[in-house]
Structures are given as structure tokens and as C-alpha cells.
């Protein structure tokens, strides 16, 4: 039993890690704590529905459609909502993302109806049995793809020039502007990437469950994940996601599904008291 829970916890945790990573990218670039991250994930699932069911696109084009759609959505959000608000206080910035998630939910329900949908993408769906652990291929695929995306992002972030400019902008807005960085483009790119990562997570989640706006609640687990991992830390987001996935599976497996929240949010509260910068983050350089 234990190994079963650990396996599915790690697989789910990889998806959370992916969504949380998208969250961190957005947060690092624009200091926006994105409460809509869960809804962006849901958007990914509905992009998949649109491409695969409504447009009848073949699988590779479906993937392209999801990525392009998510990218455009992220850019539009940045220019329509985030930029006009221009680095205001904490609450307006949080609230604009909440408003965004309310709007997105309403639009999705208007277009697709409120009822959950079934979507079967041509992903591996068999089951291996390894000892007493049933290993679903879908879980494995989700974990592998999530890790690939995370790896890809880290290479981009650490090694490419665009990644460098992104890190510079995250470090200091004024210095970035004075170095000639076109901050708007960088920020828009960060939103695009963050949305794409969430959307990929959404595609996998909607394969493990039905497609519905209620997936948002699962996506919201990215919030404790990033805080547990350390808000500013890219590896922290990924590890935090894994941890939350594990806790969730163990808590719902051994105790009850309802107990999940308690086992995630009580540790969150403790971490806020003991190590507000997260398990894997560091106290910020140069902050008083």
C-alpha cells in the first residue's frame, strides 16, 4: 500500500511541481502572486478539448494548439490586466488574479457548459504491475513529461540569453530598465511560459480525472507547494510540488480524502512561522 501511495504521490506531485513552477516563473518576473494559476491549468484542459474534440485535430497539432493558446492567453493577461495595474500594492495585485480566475471560469462554463467532460488523448493508458504496486502508464508519462518540461525550463533559465534577461528583470526592475532590457517583453514571456506550464499540467490532470472547472481546486495546491518550497526558488517549486503530491496521496490513502487539506495547510502554517522563505529557498540577498 505504502509504495502504491508513494508512487502515485510522486506522479501527481510532478504535475503539481510543473504547475507550481509556472507559478514561480510568473512570481519571479512580475511579483504577482497568481491565484488564477489553477484556472490557467483548467484552461489547458479546455484547450485540449477544443483542439481534440471540437476541431478534431490530430494529437501533435492538439499539443501545438494547447501551447500556442496558453502562450497567447498568458501574454494577453499580462498586457490587459497586469501591466495596467503597474506594480501596485499586494491586495490589488492578488485580487486582479482572482478576478481573472472568476472571469475565466465564467467564460469556460458559458462556452463548454458546467458539466464535466470526458477527453481521451492518445496517451499510454495501460498498467504495469510491479510487485504489489500498480503503475499506471499515464502516471508515468505525466511524471516523465513534467520532468522534461522542468528540465527544459531550467536549461532555458540558466543558459539562454532570454533566460538571463528574465533573471535580471526578476532581480531588479529599475536596474533592468537601465540596462536596456525591454521589460514588457520579458514579463509577457514569463506569463506565457507560466501559463504554458500550467496548461501542460492541466492536460495531464484532465486525463487522470474528468475535464471540469473544479480541477481548479487541485491547481490551487500549487500555492502551498511554492511556499513550502520557497517562493523565489525554481527547484523549490518543483520539490514543493512533489511534497504536496506525496502528502496528499498518503493523507487521503491512510486517513481520509477530506483530511488532505489539513495535512497540507498545517505544515504550511508551521513553515510560515519557522522558515518563511521555504524549505529550499534562501533568505533573499540584499534584503534588510
Amino acid at each position: 500500500m505504502l509504495s502504491q501511495f508513494i508512487f502515485s504521490g510522486l506522479a501527481l506531485g510532478s504535475i503539481y511541481g510543473l504547475v507550481a513552477l509556472g507559478f514561480t516563473v510568473i512570481y519571479k518576473a512580475t511579483q504577482v502572486f497568481n491565484f488564477a494559476q489553477g484556472m490557467l491549468m483548467v484552461c489547458g484542459a479546455y484547450f485540449a478539448v477544443t483542439a481534440s474534440i471540437h476541431l478534431g485535430l490530430p494529437f501533435p497539432l492538439t499539443i501545438a494548439f494547447i501551447l500556442v493558446g496558453a502562450g497567447i492567453l498568458g501574454i494577453a493577461i499580462y498586457f490587459l490586466l497586469i501591466k495596467p495595474l503597474g506594480g501596485q500594492a499586494l491586495l490589488p495585485m492578488i485580487m486582479i488574479t482572482i478576478a481573472l480566475s472568476i472571469i475565466l471560469r465564467a467564460v469556460i462554463e458559458l462556452i463548454y457548459g458546467g458539466a464535466p467532460l470526458t477527453l481521451r488523448l492518445p496517451l499510454p493508458s495501460g498498467v504495469f504491475v510491479l510487485g504489489d504496486v500498480r503503475i499506471s502508464q499515464l502516471h508515468v508519462t505525466a511524471a516523465v513529461v513534467s520532468w522534461l518540461c522542468m528540465l527544459l525550463f531550467i536549461v532555458f533559465f540558466r543558459r539562454s540569453r532570454a533566460g538571463l534577461l528574465m533573471r535580471a528583470t526578476a532581480d531588479g526592475y529599475e536596474a533592468a530598465v537601465l540596462s536596456g532590457i525591454r521589460v514588457d517583453r520579458i514579463n509577457a514571456a514569463a506569463w506565457a511560459i507560466g501559463t504554458m506550464l500550467a496548461a501542460i499540467g492541466g492536460v495531464f490532470l484532465c486525463q487522470l480525472q474528468l475535464v471540469s472547472v473544479e480541477l481548479e481546486n487541485i491547481g490551487l495546491l500549487a500555492l502551498p507547494a511554492v511556499v513550502i518550497g520557497g517562493l523565489q526558488s525554481v527547484p523549490g517549486a518543483i520539490l514543493g510540488g512533489l511534497l504536496v503530491g506525496l502528502i496528499e496521496q498518503l493523507a487521503s490513502g491512510y486517513i481520509s480524502p477530506k483530511a488532505r487539506d489539513i495535512f497540507i495547510y498545517v505544515p504550511l502554517l508551521l513553515i510560515l512561522f519557522i522558515r518563511p522563505w521555504g524549505l529550499f529557498g534562501q533568505k533573499e540577498l540584499g534584503r534588510v
Binding site: 531588479g172 526592475y173 537601465l178 532590457i181
Partner: protein, 256 residues
């Protein structure tokens, strides 16, 4: 007293008035120019408006809640009065802002890389090499996080980053702030080299008037947002006015 500017003008500011949030004017009717290859100093007491002037030139006013109410700023032939800062950088303006704005979580090399990012790759590499040549200390600390360096080294890095974009003109705002006199002298000693090697003109804001007047050819003195005195640095240095109101205060402050 006004010295006729016999250089070709690189930066020209005419009739510039600025306020923050529509309140009282912080700068009113400033006229100023920097010729090609010139080093020009701006002096003035705290709150005189020096930083504000720098911000107006580099396009950063808006970020700080200020606005240009009147006047014009030109860099070379381009009118930059209302351009965005990142565009102005691309027209050849580098800046070492007040308060050591380096990217603290990036390494020294990455900091310079960001500075050079506005140039084509090959040219960027060359200017970076020149910066390392100018400040060997930066070369030694290439892989160190900027935030972990000493204040003087960070200031050096800020200057290096500005130079890495191979600007025609750099603005330096209170480089000496909070640094030991020795390292300030070290950096200032490089100013003439910078001009000859990078072909960069400089506009420097400095509280330490003696230092600034030593290194510059011409100087402007700001008081409550207006230019009250300008001319050749040597003349400004001997002017009774600056002795009383500025060098005098400076000397007292540093002794008392």
C-alpha cells in the same frame, strides 16, 4: 562665466522643468549640455534635484512618479524627451544610478552580460573584455554573486555594466556614496581612461565637489532645481560662491 561650448554637443537639455506628482517644480528651466568627449560635473546640495535631472535624461522619471512639464532633451540628433528608458539606452546612454543598482543574484559576468545584451554578440564580447581590462578586480570575481561583493566592487560593477553596452554617454550618480575615499579615488582615476578607450562622454553627479571638479572639464551647480553657476571646472572651483556654500560646508561636515 558661461563657457562657449566648442565641442559638438552630444547631450543637450533645454528649458527642462520637472515635478513629482504634479506638486511643486523640482527642476525649473534647466539648460545644460555635454559635448562629445567631455566630462561634465553636476554639483549641488542634498535635494537640489541632481538625481531628478539624471532620471529625466534617462527616462526613469515616470517610474518614480515624476513628469517632465516643459523642455527638451536631445541625445545626438534624437529627441529623447518622452522616450522609454530602454529605448534611450539603445541610443547610446549608459547609467550608473544612485545606490549601486547591480543584479544581486546574478554573477559578475552575468551582470556584464546583461549590460552587453543590447549589442550584437561579437561586439558585446569585445566591450566586456575591455571592461575586465579596465577593472581587473571584476575579472578576478567573474563567478561571484554581485550581492556578495563589497560596496566599492559593486559600484565598479555598476560602472562596468553601463560601459558594457558601449554607450556614447554615461550618467554617473553619486558614485562615492558610502564608499571609502580610497576606492572612490581608484574608480575616479579610471575616468580619463574610460573616455579615451571607450570614447564615452560623462555626466557625473557628485557630492564630493573637489573630486568632481578635478576630473571634469566643465561643471554646473544646481540649487533648488535651478542652475546657479556653470562654467569651466577650474573657474567654478575658484568661484567664491562655491567655496562658501559648498566646499565650505563639505569641509566642515567632514571635519566635524
Amino acid at each position: 562665466m558661461m563657457s562657449p561650448c566648442n565641442h559638438e554637443s552630444l547631450l543637450s537639455v533645454a528649458g527642462l522643468s520637472v515635478s513629482y506628482g504634479g506638486k511643486a517644480l523640482v527642476l525649473s528651466g534647466i539648460d545644460l549640455s555635454v559635448g562629445k568627449g567631455e566630462i561634465v560635473a553636476i554639483l549641488g546640495a542634498n535635494g537640489a534635484g541632481k538625481t531628478t535631472l539624471i532620471r529625466a535624461i534617462s527616462g526613469l522619471l515616470k517610474l518614480h512618479g515624476g513628469a517632465i512639464l516643459a523642455g527638451q532633451i536631445k541625445i545626438g540628433a534624437d529627441d529623447t524627451t518622452r522616450l522609454a528608458p530602454e529605448t534611450i539606452v539603445r541610443l547610446g546612454l549608459g547609467q550608473v544610478p544612485e545606490g549601486r543598482l547591480v543584479f544581486k543574484n546574478l554573477t559578475v559576468e552575468e551582470n556584464l552580460d546583461v549590460g552587453a545584451a543590447v549589442l550584437p554578440r561579437e561586439k558585446g564580447r569585445r566591450t566586456m573584455a575591455a571592461v575586465y581590462h579596465l577593472f581587473p578586480r571584476l575579472a578576478e570575481r567573474r563567478t561571484q554573486l554581485a550581492g556578495l561583493m563589497s560596496g566599492g566592487e559593486q559600484q565598479m560593477l555598476a560602472l562596468g555594466r553601463a560601459l558594457a553596452s558601449s554607450p556614447r554617454l554615461i550618467l554617473v550618480d553619486e558614485l562615492s556614496l558610502g564608499l571609502a575615499p580610497l576606492i572612490v579615488r581608484d574608480i575616479y582615476a579610471q575616468f580619463k581612461t574610460i573616455r579615451s578607450e571607450f570614447g564615452t562622454s560623462m555626466l557625473i553627479v557628485e557630492q564630493n565637489a573637489r573630486l568632481a571638479l578635478d576630473v571634469s572639464e566643465r561643471a554646473y551647480v544646481l540649487e533648488r532645481g535651478e542652475v546657479v553657476l556653470s562654467g569651466l571646472s577650474a573657474d567654478v572651483a575658484t568661484s567664491a560662491r562655491i567655496h562658501e556654500s559648498y566646499l565650505g560646508v563639505q569641509a566642515e561636515a567632514s571635519h566635524g
